[in-house]
């Protein structure tokens, strides 16, 4: 009988995955697994390492210190009037670390999880989502550390000037996560198919770090190129982060919106692409 009513069946497996049926309900069904994956990563990464948690704190501070020495003291690049200059580098290095960890983890989804993906079905998106949540957990420690340093300067030296925009911080983090996840999902499907893309991506990542305002402020960019820089979602995120805590310039609302828009478009594209390919890709991993 060719007239099987679709409703009679709960599921259908066929060659073509639909583009838009993202099956959010199914992902919700697996929320316990999502939480358990995050938990696994947290436990596993801090088991048997004394320095583990401390390293998470130290990493942005040491990075900021190196940036300070090289880019501020030696290369003499502007820190947009933020004093002490080392504080200028902290937001950029924290956001960059978070972004690159999320992106790298997401883009390696298929390779890292091949051993599970080859044996069991669950919505594959659970794996990159858990990766992003795990890095958000690490980020929260770095932020606490940042607040402590910030408070120290605020109370002892009184030379930093917070604004109400501090409340935007969760949004900035969400935006970074969305951007990293969206880009990561697309790259994950591509690298699973073409392994040598890995090297190119690593190279591009290093390049991308320097076109993001991490070791310099946007204010030193020549006016005619500025718009290109604002197209990069990280630019508005980092600049807003700085101005919220240091009031070195007003918050550029429209660029923040643009950044949000770009990130969301990228995420949607990533979700659709990932969903379309998530199972087929396993034939070549």
């Amino acid at each position: 009988m060719p007239t099987d009513k679709k409703s009679e069946w709960d599921w259908e497996i066929k060659h073509d995955q639909s583009w838009f049926n993202l099956n959010i309900r199914e992902i919700f069904h697996y929320k316990d697994l999502l939480i358990r994956f995050v938990r696994r990563d947290i436990i596993a990464s801090y088991q048997q390492t004394i320095l583990g948690p401390i390293w998470v704190f130290l990493q942005p501070l040491l990075t900021a210190l190196v940036y300070y020495l090289i880019f501020s003291r030696i290369a003499n690049i502007s820190t947009d009037g933020i004093k002490p200059a080392i504080l200028f580098y902290l937001p950029g290095s924290i956001i960059w670390t978070y972004f690159s960890d999320c992106l790298t983890g997401t883009m390696n989804t298929f390779v890292t999880n091949a051993y599970i993906f080859n044996k069991v079905y669950f919505p594959r998106l659970i794996a990159p989502l858990s990766n992003v949540l795990f890095h958000t957990f690490r980020l929260s420690f770095q932020l606490i550390f940042f607040f402590l340093i910030y408070l120290f300067f605020l109370v002892v030296y009184r030379n930093v000037h917070p604004s109400l925009y501090i409340l935007l911080l969760p949004l900035l983090i969400l935006q970074t996560a969305i951007f990293a996840l969206g880009a990561g999902l697309i790259i994950s499907v591509l690298t699973a198919k073409y392994r040598d893309l890995d090297n190119i991506i690593n190279f591009l990542m290093r390049l991308f770090m320097f076109v993001s305002p991490i070791v310099y402020p946007v204010s030193i960019i020549p006016e005619k190129y500025k718009f290109l820089f604002w197209m990069n979602p990280l630019t508005a995120i980092i600049e807003t982060f700085r101005s919220a805590f240091f009031s070195n310039h007003p918050v550029y609302g429209k660029y923040l919106l643009l950044s949000g828009f770009n990130s969301i478009v990228l995420l949607l594209a990533g979700l659709v692409f990932f969903h379309k390919r998530e199972i087929k890709v396993m034939d070549v991993v």
Partner: protein, 419 residues
């Protein structure tokens, strides 16, 4: 409302060969390829094949009803595992579709996703969630799982410190408490010791008969398929070649898989099976037929005769030749050996006699092992002979399967003691 839970329509699966660094695919296909190269002329008009691509499955159609246990048989590379992977949604079919009802859980290995750094307790939850259980479900079954696994003492120890036995027991305990409508099991029974396998089969039987679950099941263990399944499907080169009652399907399968090999003879020493120490010249099974029908039955006396070139030139190196008889479940029926003796290099002949009225009816094969100084295996000539033993009953009043591995006619005598 029909009773059909799964309906596969024209499932075909296409694999491209040799592209990219594909790890798992390579393994999947390697076995297939070995079969393939043996039969170069095989060409299906609808599903052409070349060195660059293959059809791992071709137009597979079947239905599974509620509560049915369906077994899949076939050689390595026949497509069984690919089919289960498609039903499990791990890989997609190239053509066709599968429609289904109800929650499925696949058990393509035990302990998927176990993490060595995590404790047994953590892993129960992790593995349970991966297999599709919800938190509440695992919590409510937690004690049962722990009981079943028998690793209660080590629940808070990282599983990397577990023995492999404990690890498998814990992993299986989680899997055994899955509660889906459809369970997909692939060769899980191949791991672990006999005790563990018994436990697995017991549990599967319980799940299917008491809870009325639907199970799709791949195994090389004919006994397990015979015991558990209501229906069996045989795959060969990606196609369904037989389907139906397991007893009949298994019988046909074994018949097609084995060709009766009663004689192998090799004239050229260098191309004969063996190695630098042993070269086989001839192995032969000589039946002493009871009548002209030339059928080996339970009464037939069988002589195994073999000749081999022996080339170990060491003083005092002694040789033992063992003859193994196995049935097609892979059970050893016996292992008999020649006495330890030192031989000069040269051609040696051996004989071994299996008396009539000894073997039960069934399919058997023989392997011959050559051992130096008790411990060093020189050569194992595996499954070199195979044969069938047919049933024979004189005063036939009963036609059921005569049980037992052997069928001796030891007398059983009765004597009236009191009237």
């Amino acid at each position: 409302m029909s009773n059909i839970l799964i309906k596969a329509e024209n499932i075909s699966k296409f694999y491209r060969l040799g592209l990219l660094g594909s790890r798992t695919l390579k393994e999947d296909i390697k076995n297939w390829w070995q079969n393939k190269t043996m039969d170069e002329n095989f060409m299906d008009p609808g599903f052409g094949s070349s060195k660059n691509f293959i059809w791992a499955l071709k137009n597979i159609n079947f239905e599974v009803s509620h509560g049915e246990v369906l077994g899949f048989l076939g050689r390595n590379g026949a497509g069984k595992s690919t089919l289960l992977k498609i039903i499990s949604r791990i890989t997609l079919p190239t053509k066709g579709r599968i429609l289904g009802k109800g929650r499925t859980a696949s058990l393509l290995e035990v302990g998927t996703g176990f993490h060595g750094e995590l404790t047994g307790r953590e892993n129960i939850f992790l593995n349970g969630h991966i297999l599709g259980m919800k938190k509440k479900e695992i919590e409510s079954k937690f004690d049962e799982i722990v009981d079943f696994s028998g690793v209660e003492q080590f629940l808070d120890t990282p599983v990397k410190r577990y023995s492999s036995g404990m690890y498998v027991r814990l992993a299986f305990a989680v899997a055994a408490h899955l509660d889906p409508e459809i369970l997909i099991v692939d060769e899980v029974l191949a791991v672990g010791d006999a005790e563990f396998q018994r436990k697995c089969i017991g549990k599967m039987k319980e799940v299917s008969s008491q809870k009325g679950k639907t199970i799709l099941f791949v195994s090389h263990n004919m006994q397990a398929v015979r015991n558990l399944c209501h229906r069996a499907i045989v795959l060969n080169k990606g196609e369904i070649v037989d389907m139906g009652n397991p007893e009949a399907v298994i019988a046909n399968y074994l018949k097609s898989e084995k060709t009766q090999h009663l004689l192998h003879e090799f004239q050229d020493k260098n191309s004969a099976p063996g190695n630098e120490f042993i070269r086989i010249k001839k192995v032969e099974l000589i039946p002493d037929y009871v009548n002209e029908s030339e059928v080996i039955d339970i009464r037939t006396r069988l002589t195994i005769q073999f000749e081999f070139w022996y080339d170990v030139n060491e003083a005092n190196a002694d040789l033992i030749v063992g003859v193994h008889l196995l049935n097609f479940n892979g059970d050893y029926i016996f292992d008999v050996a020649s006495p330890r003796t030192v031989y000069e290099p040269g051609l040696i002949r051996g004989t071994c006699e299996i008396p009539g009225h000894f073997l039960n009816d069934g399919a058997y094969y023989i392997s011959i092992v050559f051992v130096k100084n008790i411990s060093q295996r020189l050569f194992y000539y595996e499954s070199c002979l195979s044969f069938d033993v047919e049933d024979y009953r004189d005063n036939a009043g009963w036609y059921g399967k005569w049980v037992g591995v052997v069928r001796p006619n030891f007398p059983v005598l009765l004597q009236p003691v009191e009237n």
